[in-house]
């Protein structure tokens, strides 16, 4: 196949970071689909809270120029493996295949309409709103993540906190 992918995965404090280089040895541009092979959903790079164009929960889809390369990187909850991602399929690209812009394009490409934080009456709540015990625990976990000594228990605790926050925020 004219498309090759070199990928590596390494554990970083309970989260697996995957890097990949997709190489197109063909002379023409090719559209490729790279899918995650690890156990867990893809946490893609985001811009203004929206996944960068081409990314979804399973992997990446985009165009690699003829004779060129494309660098990819994402995070994943699953344990590292030798081949964390693979090329699912490739196809030749059309000359002008991009359709009209979408809501995700609007959120990603246009400025955030919310007023800056300084405009609000935030000075009244200048005191740190995080309870001291929680701040200490988070600080300890952050230190362990930085030094690469975070445990499985840390990872599970952070996931539980994340899930609780999403519930409180009314999200999925």
């Amino acid at each position: 196949m004219s498309i090759k992918v070199d990928s590596t995965a390494r554990d970083h404090g309970g989260v697996t970071l995957v890097t990949a280089v997709v190489r197109n040895e063909d002379d023409v541009d090719r559209r490729v689909r790279v899918t995650n092979e690890l156990d867990g959903v893809v946490r893609p790079p985001t811009q203004d809270g929206v996944a960068v164009e081409g990314w979804d929960a399973d992997g990446f889809e985009g165009v690699v120029p003829g004779g060129g390369t494309r660098a990819l990187g994402y995070a994943c909850g699953g344990a590292p493996a030798d081949e964390p991602c693979r090329v699912a399929w490739t196809e030749r690209t059309g000359a002008d295949e991009k359709g009209p812009a979408t809501v995700a394009d609007a959120l990603r490409d246009l400025d955030d309409p919310r007023p800056p934080v300084e405009s609000g009456p935030s000075k009244r709540s200048a005191a740190d709103p995080v309870p001291p015990a929680v701040a200490v625990w988070l600080g300890d976990v952050a230190d362990r993540v930085d030094t690469g000594t975070a445990s499985e228990a840390d990872r599970r605790a952070l996931e539980a906190v994340d899930e609780r926050l999403r519930t409180l925020a009314g999200g999925p």
Binding site: D48, V103, A106, L110, D111, D112, P113, R114, P115, G120
Partner: protein, 218 residues
């Protein structure tokens, strides 16, 4: 049908045109100017609450007035708490329930203009006889084009006629809306001019604009 009313530049009469079109097209008008809302509001949930996940879009619609309105909150804190990614789904939900929706979009070219354009079937560009206003109208028209929101008509506000260059440049029929102080008087009381002064000169312009939108089969 979702119709986005855009102007690019502030102060050209976008909100007024949205309100008048809402009256004539029997549509719900959504005030999507998150930080500088100016359509009338009342007690109850508003768009800030909808975009913060505290209220459903349907319960925030005020029915019973001459025009049904989904108003927007006035506080900067409320605007900051908004998740703009919910705006497209909110507009779709109102359209599914009520049929037609007119979105009064903010000035500028930020995401609160882009998201309505992404879900809109068509748009109306509001501009006025001043060079800066027209330059911004061209920019926001290009933005609408990128989102595939077809331009139904150009509202040329506070003018007696539409120059050919305006229609040619923007690529849609223009409708002149004459300067009319009854529009200001009506807006001060929270009403569209068409409801209070149906025979006023501007009312004829707004009616012609609504006809131009209807002529697109929307």
């Amino acid at each position: 049908m979702i119709l986005a009313v855009i102007g690019g530049k502030g102060g050209v009469g976008t909100s007024t045109v949205a309100l008048e079109l809402g009256l004539r097209l029997d549509a719900v008008v959504v005030d999507a100017d998150l930080s500088m809302a100016d359509l009338p509001t009342s007690r109850g949930p508003d768009l800030h609450d909808v975009l913060a996940g505290r209220a459903s879009p349907i319960e925030a619609v005020r029915e019973g007035g001459v025009v049904s309105i989904l108003p927007c909150g006035r506080t900067l804190a409320g605007a900051r708490a908004c998740d703009v990614s919910r705006l497209g789904e909110a507009l779709d939900a109102v359209a599914r329930r009520y049929g037609d929706v007119v979105v009064d979009c903010a000035a500028g070219m930020r995401a609160d203009v882009g998201v309505p354009l992404a879900v809109a079937d068509a748009c109306v560009v509001v501009t006025a006889p001043a060079r800066p206003a027209f330059a911004d109208a061209i920019r926001v028209r290009e933005l609408a084009r990128s989102f595939d929101a077809g331009l139904a008509a150009v509202a040329y506000n506070r003018a007696d006629g539409v120059p050919d260059a305006v229609e040619r440049t923007l690529g849609a029929p223009g409708v002149a809306i004459p300067a009319d102080e009854t529009v200001q008087r009506a807006r001060r009381s929270g009403y569209p001019a068409g409801a209070l002064f149906p025979d006023a000169p501007a009312s004829g312009g707004f009616e012609a604009l609504a006809d131009a939108v209807r002529a697109c089969g929307l």
